[in-house]
Point group: C2
Chain length 253, copies 2
Amino acid sequence: MRRVPGVAIAVDVVLFSIRDGRFSVLLVRRNAEPFEVRWALPGGLVKDDESLEQAVLRELAAETGLVKLPAAMHLEQLRTYGAPGRDPRRRTVSVAYMAFLPDLPAPEAGGDTPLALFWPVSEVTGPPAMPLAFDHPRILEDGVERARGKLEYTSLAASFLEEPFRLGDLRRIYEEVWATRLDPSNFRRKVLNQRGFVVPHGLRAGSTGPRGGRPAELYGRGDAFLLWPPLRRDNDELNDPTEGRQAAAGDGG
Amino acid sequence: MRRVPGVAIAVDVVLFSIRDGRFSVLLVRRNAEPFEVRWALPGGLVKDDESLEQAVLRELAAETGLVKLPAAMHLEQLRTYGAPGRDPRRRTVSVAYMAFLPDLPAPEAGGDTPLALFWPVSEVTGPPAMPLAFDHPRILEDGVERARGKLEYTSLAASFLEEPFRLGDLRRIYEEVWATRLDPSNFRRKVLNQRGFVVPHGLRAGSTGPRGGRPAELYGRGDAFLLWPPLRRDNDELNDPTEGRQAAAGDGG
DNA sequence: GCAAAAGTGTTGACTGTACACCCATGT
DNA sequence: ACATGGGTGTACAGTCAACACTTTTGC
C-alpha cells in the first residue's frame, strides 16, 4: 500500500440509537483494504463542492440506506481527527459527526449497500473492545462521552423517541445511556418543570406494556434545547445494594 | 484569482487573553490577497507530516512570535469549518482551535513577523463588528460563546492568570468575560468549596491596588478541571422562547 | 477619618432526594 | 388478588443569593 501525497477530507458519523432498549451505534463492515472485514463508523471522502454536512448525509444514505432521514434526527459536529498516519493510504483529516436517531424499523443493510448494523455500545467498547477500523475506537469513545454529557443539559434524549412518547420511555433512555437508575417520580417532576422540554400530547397510551400498569400520559418534543438545571447522572445510585442490574459492565448479550 | 482543484487543510486559532483587564483576542493583519489589510485569526496550512496541534503551535510562533508558550496555556479544538467557498482560492477546510493565555508582557508584533495585536473582544464583535477576513467573524463568535460557557464548568478561568493570584483577580476574569458582576463573598465561597480549583499559596499580596484595601491571600491553580456545581452567569436569558411562565407555582402537569 | 478591597457570618428562599402512598391497568 | 408501571404528596437536608458586618490596607 503506497502512500499518496496530498491530503484528503473525510467525514465519519457516530450514529446513536436505542435499539430494543439498548444504547447502540451504527457500524458498517468494511469490504476493502485497509481494515477489510473490520467494522467501522460509516463515512467517506468529502466531494469537492459539497459541504461537510452534505457529505455526512450522502454517506449515510449510501452506506446504510438511510435515505429519508427523520426530521427529528439530531446531527452535530463532534471533533476532527487529523493525526498523520491515522489512514495508512494517505494523509486524511476526518471530521467526525454525532447523530441521534429514534429506533427506526430497519435502516439496516440494503441489497446494494454495504452491511450496516446497530451494535450495542457496551459490546463495541468492551471489555473486550471490538477491533474497529482506523482510529474509530477513539472517535466512538469521544462520541459516547459527549452523548452522555449532552443528555444532562439538553433535551436531546427525546431525539431517541418517536412521538408521542411516555415519560417512562424518556426515563429509560437516560437510564440506558447512563447505565444508571433514576427515581421515576423525581424524574417526572424535573422533566415537567423544564419549560419546553416536553409538551402534553393530550392522549393516553392504549397498551400499557407487557405486565399491566396504569396507562401513561403522552408527550411530544418541545422546542427548548438547553435545560436548566441539568439532569444529572448521579453515579451514587450505581451503588444500589438491593438489586444488581446491568451496570457498567458489558454483559455480551 | 483562479480556483485551484483539490482540498487544503488549515488551522486557525482563537487565542484569548485578558489584556489590561479586558477580554481580548489575538488578531494578525493580512498583508496579501485575499482580504489584504484585513485583520484575521492567526493560522495557516497544515504541513503534510505534522499533526493539527503541531501546526497550531508552529503558526502561533511564526505569526505572533509566541515561541516559548507558557505551560499554563490551554489549547483545545473548537470546531471545523469547511463550507465550499469560504476561501476564494481553493477548497479549504479549517480546524479551529481555542487557546487561553495569561496576560503576557508583549507577545505582539515582531520585526520579522506579521503585525499581531490583542484586540478587546467587544471591539471586534461590535456593534459595529470589525470586518475580519474569511469566515473568521463566525469562528470568533463560536469561540467567544464556547469560552464563556467553559468558564462555568471548568477551572479554565485560572489559565488567564499568572501565579500566584488573588481571588479578586480570578473574580474579575469572570466579570470581564461574562460582562457581569459577581458578589465577592459568594464567589469566594464557591471557589474555595471546589476542591482542587485553587490551592493556597501561603503568602499575601504586597501591594493591594491603587486605592488601598486589605491585602489578599494568594492562590495557585489546582489540578481539578471540572467544577461541580458550576459557577453561573445570569441564567435568566439562557434559553426559552419566552412563553408561559410556570415559575414557583408548580402546575402539576 | 474615609474609601476600598478582603474576608466572615447569617438568614430566608429555594431545590433535590428519598420515600410513602394512591391510581389504573394486565393477568 | 396482585404485580406493575404511572403519578402525587411531603418532609428533611443541602444550596444559594443577598447583605450586614469586620479586617486591613492606601491616601
